[in-house]
Amino acid sequence: MSTETLPSGPQLRAFLHGLPGVDQVGVDERAARLATRSIKTTAKAQAIDLAITMVDLTTLEGADTPGKVRALCAKGARPDPGDASVPRVAAICVYPDMVETAVAALRGTGIGVASVATAFPSGRAPMEAKLADTRAAVAAGASEIDMVIDRGAFLAGDYRKVHEEIVATKEACGDAHLKVIFETGELVTYDNVRRASWLAMEAGADFIKTSTGKVAPAATLPVTLVMLEAVRDYRAATGRQVGVKPAGGIRTTKDAIKYLVLVNETAGPDWLDPQWFRLGASSLLNDLLMQRRKLTTGVYSGPDYFTLD
């Protein structure tokens, strides 16, 4: 959709409220049922490696230093220094002022640099500030931008404002991929998650992302299921494929594998690729590495054998 033909508020409202409602109990049940799938031995080994390639290794703390970001980049490029067969992660996710450090540290590795922008995590700033934030990150070399939507406007029913912000941010991104964060923990209902998904995809999002990781509950299986249904239906309707990124609260290999099952069973195997599905996480990577080492050595490993980050 080009900027000249931006839909009006009432048009958006009519469209989004015309989407079929989400059966909350059904979604919860379906996600819980899929989470009981047992993935073992060789399939588990494959799932672990796939999950590692999908990780957006994230550090979004006020206390981030250039040293910490460089350490994280080194870890992303070579997650297990003792085992060269461990694949690289998909991207390193940092605050805009750390993009330059990350880009320099990752040169030549093929790992992307994702930057949060638009007054992350609250999204409460004037539009000009949000766009300046985005442009600065892109200029510093970020290949992916994680923007937050204005949840206040969304919950007040001002869909047009949210839509315009996404369109404007997409423009400011240039060649960088745009991920749109909904902060589903603040959207309250699955119906809202479905509406936000369609709204963001209509506005040009390349990825839709559950949460900032700063609000509990962050990513959950049912929420991700609703978003995966949205991207599946959107591709069927328009032919354009959009990625999904659950983020926050995914800490164990078991959790990660549950998400992979969900992707395969909901959106389909086309999405089982780091280009279309990402896991926003920090502590998850260590657990994946621990489980991987258990599979290769046959004995349980411990947190002492992996980096603290």
């Binding site: 004995v299 349980y300 411990g302």
Partner: protein, 284 residues
Amino acid sequence: MSERLTVRKTYKLFIGGAFPRSESGRSYVVNDGRGAFLANASQASRKDVRDAVGAARKAFGGWSGRTAHNRGQILYRIAEMLEGRRAQFVDELRATGLGKSAASDEVDAAVDRWVWYAGWTDKIAAVAGSANPVSGPFFNFSTPEPVGVVGVVAPDAPLLGLVSVLAPVVATGGTAVVVASEPAPLPAITLAEVLATSDLPGGVVNLLTGRRDELAPWLASHMDVDAIDLAGVPADGVAALEEAAAGNLKRVLRPAGDDWSGEPGTARLTAFLETKTVWHPVGV
């Protein structure tokens, strides 16, 4: 009087202060001394071992950081709680085949053993540590510190044996993952109920019931376990476990045919300690 339905107790595992069923969903039949059905006990799997080690690791910092005096108070509290459940333990021990007075004596001895180790918590540093004379203007102290997470394969003496190997580990600030006696696991789980109500932080003691042959190798090879006590392992199984334990240089305590009713001494207290030596300049 109308017939009441029997209320049977479900014996579960004790991990991280909670009583979960085995992750595997398995259980096994426990018989009494005469071979009649007594109860079903959870049959833990290697994943329960992993979870228990995780819980023990998480609890280690807090437990080892408590003052020795506070640990002593908590161990004494365990003795009090055990004393309060005397009758229950006597019944459970009698079900394993012990006579009435033997069962009663064993419970008394188990209570006394907790008191013994409760007393040692704030004294072991004075006995196992030292102030070392050095040829320089320094104070030089060697102090014992707990080694970390200790795996314990408990002996078959269902209560006294278990208490005798478990209490010294927690008395010095270590945390334990215990594989209970395979033929008589029920007193161990009832002991877990005592531990759960004694102000002992969750995860300090984790109790698993199940097949010793299945669980001990995973405990011995686990890279996040710092020491292992093989008290309950039959002689022909020790070598393989020692070999598995070498992977991360675990400290291994071999079974020595202990007589649990005898004087405990301090050997088990010091078995899971390591010594830290600190130099401090004089006059600063």
